[in-house]
Amino acid sequence: MTSLHFSPRVPVFDANVRVGDRRDEPSPCRNREQLLAEMDRHGVARALIYHAQTESVSPVEGNGYLAEWLGEDGRLYPQYSIMPTPDSMTQIEGLQAQGRVQSLRLYDTSPAGLPFRPWAFDELLGWLSQARIPLWISLPEATLAELMETLPGHPHLVTVLVGAHYSHFLWTRPLLRALPNTYLELSRYEPIGEVEALRDEFGAERLLYGSWFSRYAMGPMLFYLHHTSLTDHELALVCAGNLDRIMQGEGRLD
């Protein structure tokens, strides 16, 4: 039943929130308090956050800006970004040694000419797989051929594919079939009926709610998920349960 007002009926843990300013795009939320207010407005209890500077400038420097957003109330979880350079690996290994890494986000090296191929990323992916750290990969910056060349070599690595668009429609099924430890984040995935269709084909445990705020508004995909044929159990998995499980290091092949 749709109403002019919406609030979620299951706990919500947003799997994809960007904080801070890109060099070319100030964030609408200037600080942690404003982000929490936006989350409250949409009924989002927790969010996994990464810093905008890690995608537009430097993962190493950008990771350092996350601390001021985290607080101690357990609502915002850090997601650090990583690339296959000594400085980045050393930074992440240090954070990992402190128990502060539950997931990572892949920095896009393709504009600098480094493709996502085994000879460039196997060492990094092998370490993540061994350490049971899940990796978020942005589909708008990825190529299907590189994903399919590189990820099958790391079957125990849990990956979350972020930002699939209708222009990725032909990718999603081959990827989810070929990579059983891969999850699809839904922030931008709007082909008609596809949430229900992917649930039917792969199960609700392969899908994650993410808003990709502040790139996109926080509420629309959450509203969408609440107006599907997903059962409340499935909805709870997509909106929080799957992410909780992934961040505890559980893979589907365990």
Partner: protein, 249 residues
């Protein structure tokens, strides 16, 4: 219906673009509409420049559920001799209620003379025209400000409200300047604060809910309106009140 208000989706398609998952299966479209409370979807078919083939295809699709789908006529100035006869046929014989134009499939910005016979037709009939608008050279919303004052009995709708920030500003400026310019909301960009911006700067009575069904599922596009920080009255106007007034349905 949403809280007793009839919901009209002003932007939808018949036809298929299989690479993007756009499939015009009525049962799929109605299931999504029913889950969200959308009563009517306005549909157009835009892939055949003769207009006739597109409009007949659209009419056959709509005839499967005439209580849920409403037709808009499509023509293209790439076949100029066909435009006016086909518009008259689509409106008078197929009972379509408005016009859809798609400048990206032509070489002409939509403020150029190639398009003017269509505007004159709409002006004579008091019809609405929805354009695809964005930041590309043929599709700029600022062209609305060139044509709207010349055809005051027609209404002009900026599909996607320009999509991008710069083009959106042009669409809003046109709506502020002319009472026969409207802004439609569907967009694959779901930038935070856009619905609020349209309402605050152009007025809720000038904003129309659209989804791009079935290229996009209408539910997240509806969610943009429902979860926006605007008044209930603004939501009622956007979701159906304005479209009902504009289309006479």
């Amino acid at each position: 219906m949403i809280d007793g208000n009839r919901v009209i989706d002003f932007h939808g398609h018949s036809g298929r673009m299989d690479s993007f998952g756009m499939v015009d299966k009525p049962e799929l479209m109605l299931q999504a509409m029913d889950k969200a409370g959308i009563d009517i979807a306005c549909l157009f078919h835009i892939f055949q420049p003769d207009g006739t083939t597109s409009n007949d295809t659209n009419a056959r699709f709509i005839a499967q559920h005439p209580d849920r789908f409403v037709g808009f006529a499509y023509v293209s100035p790439t076949m100029p001799q066909r435009m006016l006869p086909e518009l008259a046929r689509a409106i008078d014989m197929l009972h379509f209620v408005a016009i859809k134009l798609y400048p990206p499939y032509t070489p002409w910005p939509f403020n150029q003379a190639e398009w003017f016979p269509i505007y004159e037709f709409a002006n004579q009939r008091g019809l609405a025209i929805i354009f695809h608008t964005d930041s590309y050279p043929t599709n700029r919303p600022r062209f609305l400000a060139d044509i709207a004052p010349l055809y005051p009995r027609a209404n002009f709708v900026a599909g996607h409200s320009g999509n991008t920030q710069e083009a959106r500003a042009e669409a809003i400026a046109a709506a502020q300047a002319y009472p026969n310019v409207y802004l439609e909301t569907c967009s694959t960009y779901r930038t935070p604060g856009v619905i609020e911006q349209l309402v605050n700067e152009a007025g809720a009575d000038r904003v129309l809910f659209g989804s791009d069904i079935p290229l996009m599922d209408p539910r997240p596009q509806l969610g943009k309106i429902i979860t926006a920080d605007i008044s209930d009255e603004a939501k009622r106007l956007i979701l159906g009140g304005n479209a009902s007034r504009l289309l006479g349905i």
